[in-house]
């Protein structure tokens, strides 16, 4: 229900853009938001506004936006009243009747028909045109210049104006133009009604151009087409047009016009209707169209803001996670030192033990390493721990222990080694990490490094690691 009250406005647009600049959430939180709201509106704009509403506390309200909107609203209200006031003033001015000459309805038309239609035409061109053309037309309106002057006032929220996309600025301008024009026309209409009530105005028409009464009547009938069927009295008759035609230097004014002064006042209905229809109603329709387009431009601009498409995608796409929920406790790697490392294996040992080697493999290795020993045992592998324990307790003096360099020392090996270390008859234990037979038993330095680190960790001087690579 709450989301229904959210509507896209200039304020919500600016606040949304501001929020998006500093907070976008992540896929998980955005998807959670979407799933949490079963009644998520189908419209993308409504979804975004709801999201912004929920996260509005993520950023502190920007004072520049509030200042800008305050000034914008104040300036708009002021200009609305100013337009209304100017409309009344212009209306009074146009209808001022000194008694010497009738009020020329053509002047009135110029303000209530020609000028509004011309401004609407320019607005229409600006609406349908893009880029420079629209920009150029905008420059022709005095309102544009007034706004540029306001922008140059010191301490104003210039940055906010720059943040608005050109398409939105255009529609804001056009919307305000229609609004002010509407109130200006209402002002004129009010002045007309007021003047008609308080003054007896004699209307006439006069032109330097050679226009006959018939031609002028035809034009007026055309203008009055929208209301001629339901308010026929608001359509001037040919007789009235003929009667009210006056010439600056002619004598017709005095004779015919004065005789029919009561009939000349009948013009007001036509003037009121033409103002109402062309300057007020048409302008109102225009204003509504512009407001609609302004809203659409705002929506379009909102949807192309950086990060919006990602946000919408995150609402719709399931959040997939593959990570572990808990952080791994990282193991501190012990720095390698050269303690307990020997480069050369002695050629004679009392015992050779092959950890996870078969007797044949030990013999082959001996052939390559040129190491001999009177006793050779295999340990690890498929032997039971008890069998290994017995061998470890039975050996003495200098023990050579072949290990597979690529197999890191397991705790099973360490347990066996500890028995060897604890055997008082054993003087030295040399661990010889051998590479694969395919590599002629040559081990890789990184593999030997693993063995070195492990042995150094045992803190015993009895055990040595043979790094044959260093020998070379």
């Amino acid at each position: 229900m709450q989301n229904k009250s959210l509507k896209l406005s200039l304020k919500s647009y600016l606040n949304f853009a501001d929020l998006l600049g500093s907070y976008r959430g992540d896929h998980e939180s955005n998807r959670t938001f979407a799933l949490k709201h079963d009644d998520l509106p189908p419209s993308a704009v409504d979804r975004l506004l709801l999201w912004a509403h929920e996260h509005r506390f993520k950023v502190t309200s920007s004072p520049e936006i509030d200042l800008f909107l305050h000034r914008f609203s104040m300036a708009t209200s002021f200009l609305v009243f100013f337009s209304l006031f100017m409309g009344v003033l212009v209306g009074i001015g146009l209808l001022s009747y000194s008694g010497d000459a009738p009020v020329n309805v053509i002047y009135f038309f110029a303000m209530t028909l020609i000028l509004p239609l011309l401004s609407m035409l320019l607005s229409l061109i600006s609406m349908i045109s893009r880029g420079e053309m629209a920009n150029f037309i905008t420059h022709l309106f005095p309102l544009y210049w007034l706004e540029r002057l306001i922008e140059h006032l010191p301490d104003q929220a210039q940055g906010i104006i720059d943040r608005l996309p050109a398409s939105v600025s255009k529609w804001i301008f056009l919307e305000r133009l229609q609004r002010f024009s509407l109130f200006f026309s209402i002002g004129i209409l009010l002045a007309l009604m007021g003047m008609v009530v308080v003054k007896d105005i004699a209307f006439g028409w006069s032109s330097t151009l050679n226009i006959t009464a018939e031609e002028f009547h035809a034009l007026l009938s055309f203008i009055a087409m929208p209301w001629e069927s339901w308010i026929p009295s608001a359509v001037p008759s040919l007789e009235l047009v003929e009667l009210s035609h006056y010439f600056r230097l002619g004598e017709k004014l005095e004779s015919e016009m004065i005789q029919n002064a009561d009939k000349l006042g009948a013009w007001w209905k036509f003037l009121a209707m033409s103002t109402l229809v062309y300057a007020v109603i048409l302008r109102f329709i225009f204003w509504m169209v512009v407001r609609f387009n302004y809203q659409k431009a705002l929506e379009k601009s909102l949807l192309v803001l950086e990060g919006v498409s990602q946000l919408l995608r995150e609402f719709d796409k399931p959040f997939v996670s593959t990570n572990a929920p808990s952080q791994e406790k990282h193991l501190d790697i012990v720095e390698e030192t050269e303690a307990q490392v020997t480069e050369e294996a002695g050629h004679y040992h009392d015992v050779i033990l092959g950890w996870n080697f078969s007797p044949d493999e030990i013999r082959l290795a001996n052939d390559t390493t040129k190491i001999i020993a009177p006793m050779i045992h295999t340990v690890g592998g498929s032997h039971t721990f008890e069998e290994d324990e017995e061998i470890a307790s039975g050996v003495s003096r200098h023990v050579l222990l072949y290990v597979k360099s690529w197999e890191p020392p397991t705790m099973d090996f360490v347990d066996f080694l500890e028995i060897l270390i604890e055997n008082p008859k054993v003087e030295t234990i040399e661990i010889y990490p051998l590479g694969t037979a395919g590599r002629y038993y040559e081990s890789e330095p990184r593999e030997v490094a693993v063995w070195k680190r492990k042995i150094q960790g045992l803190n015993t001087t009895k055990v040595w690691v043979i790094d044959a690579k260093e020998q070379k």
């Binding site: 880029g131 399931p318 790697i333």
Partner: protein, 475 residues
């Protein structure tokens, strides 16, 4: 009670897989690669993984399957010895013995690693036994495999080729006795397709797991596509920002020195570099490479001529704009006069009005800067650098972005070494061929003119970038 039992059932419904094996055989690398997570510690030192760690594949919080990284076997012989020392039991009850071992030795530090690795299996996880097939087979592995056989859980073996030698045939002969499936998977070189293929194999381990794993494959495929799309969006946004970027600096009354101009150019370049770095970070985050290390590959502006120009505006209008506006306003005023005279003036009013307005704006433009209204100057003089005018620069930038994104997208999460960049120019030329360039040029030209591209143009551009990126990924 009933509720808790149902919950347990729910927990056990999704497939679980424990990645087990001898220490240092690449278990964590495989998990890291399959879980697309580079935070897993991988190292030469045995025992890097000390406790089991679950990596659930969750879709909107619902687990589809879970992988467990486990420590390697440390005292396998003693475990088997304990199992064999118990009262002989039939094969169907051997799993219970494993559970009994866990219970009995839970507080025994000696069997910490074995308990960590056996526990998920005892709780129903399938077994993924990892061996290094670049090293020869040894009978010592049989102890581990025997223990795993005692669990009675569905199992498969993965042949990981860590080194250069290849003993796969030897391994296959041995593993075939213990495991239903044996597959080769190199986590460091595995492509997305290899990943999916391994999942297909895992789906075959148990009938009930086939469906959820198929769902997982679908989800991961979609996730991959999402990442591709997100990367392309990020690239397009950065291209737009970088190519349209304009650095402006107000020109003081005394003018601007060559040093200041050079500094302004440096600032412009620094901003483009920042945009590129931000993009790289974004891409790395999209592909979940959070702890990547790389050699710096800075964008070089050496051969790219940068031009600065001085621009002036009055009320935000450039000289041309102001001339047109003033001429039009003059013409409009003149037209009013012409209309008042009923056309008798032969539109001289409009012509003269337009000419006066235009010429006035042209002549007066330079003198209007200093005019102040309400304490503010109406005019502005600025030094501007950008948008980038070099015709080839957009392709260098895009090529670098695509190359970086493709390297990151294809990089396995099991890799821990530094990313080294090849000469991306050569790579780029293959992808951004003449036809592709023609398609991209429209947007580049618009940005060069300092204009905002239309959503349709962005869409068309994005489609070409997406196609190029997909081509690079399949490269």
């Amino acid at each position: 009670m009933q509720k808790s039992r149902n919950k347990d059932k729910e927990v056990n419904r999704y497939p679980k897989f424990a990645v087990v094996g001898h220490p240092n055989k690449g278990k964590s690398s495989i998990v890291s690669s399959l879980a697309l997570d580079d935070s897993v510690q991988i190292g030469d030192t045995p025992g890097t993984t000390q406790v089991k760690r679950g990596f659930p594949l969750k879709v909107d919080g619902k687990i589809v399957y879970e992988l467990f990284d486990t420590p390697g076997f440390q005292r396998a012989r003693r475990v088997l010895s304990w199992l064999k020392s118990q009262e002989p039991v039939s094969a169907d009850r051997r799993g219970e013995l494993i559970r009994a071992f866990i219970e009995e030795h839970r507080d025994n530090e000696k069997f910490h690693d074995e308990i960590e690795l056996l526990e998920p299996i005892a709780n129903g996880a399938g077994i993924i036994y990892v061996v290094d097939a670049s090293k020869p087979y040894g009978p010592e592995y049989e102890v581990e495999m025997e223990i795993l056989r005692w669990t009675g859980q569905p199992s498969m073996a993965i042949l990981n080729l860590i080194g250069e030698e290849d003993y796969r045939e030897q391994w296959k002969r041995a593993l075939g006795h213990y495991f239903r499936l044996v597959r080769t998977f190199n986590p460091v070189r595995a492509t997305f397709e290899d990943h999916m293929s391994l999942l297909e194999s895992m789906a075959q381990l148990k009938e009930e797991w086939t469906k959820p794993i198929k769902v997982a494959i679908g989800v991961l495929n979609e996730l991959h596509q999402q990442k591709v799309e997100q990367s392309v969006d990020a690239i397009v946004q950065t291209m737009k920002k970088s190519l349209g970027y304009v650095y402006t600096k107000p020109i003081p009354a005394q003018g601007i020195s060559p040093q200041e101009e050079s500094k302004a150019k440096q600032r412009y370049q620094a901003q483009i570099v920042t945009y590129e770095r931000d993009l790289e970070e974004q891409i790395e985050l999209i592909w979940n490479h959070r702890s990547i290390e790389k050699v710096e590959n800075l964008l070089v502006f050496e051969d790219i001529g940068l031009f600065s120009k001085e621009s002036a505006s009055i009320f935000g209008l450039g000289q041309r704009e102001l001339i047109i506006t003033a001429a039009s306003a003059g013409a409009m005023g003149g037209l009013g006069l012409d209309l008042m005279l009923g056309g008798g003036s032969l539109f001289l009013g409009s012509i003269i009005g337009g000419a006066v307005g235009g010429v006035g704006a042209m002549v007066g433009f330079d003198n209007l800067y200093e005019v102040k209204i309400l304490g503010q100057k109406v005019g502005k003089r600025e030094l501007t650098i950008g948008p980038m005018q070099n015709l080839n620069f957009p392709y260098i930038l895009l090529g670098r972005a695509l190359y970086h994104a493709s390297v990151i997208a294809k990089r396995s999460h099991a890799l821990r070494d530094e990313v080294k960049w090849e000469d991306e120019a050569q790579y780029t030329e293959q992808i951004l061929d003449a036809k592709t360039r023609r398609g991209l040029e429209k947007l580049h030209a618009r940005l060069r003119r300092g204009e905002e591209p239309t959503p349709e143009e962005i869409k068309a551009y994005r489609a070409i970038v997406l196609e190029s990126f997909e081509r690079l990924l399949s490269h």
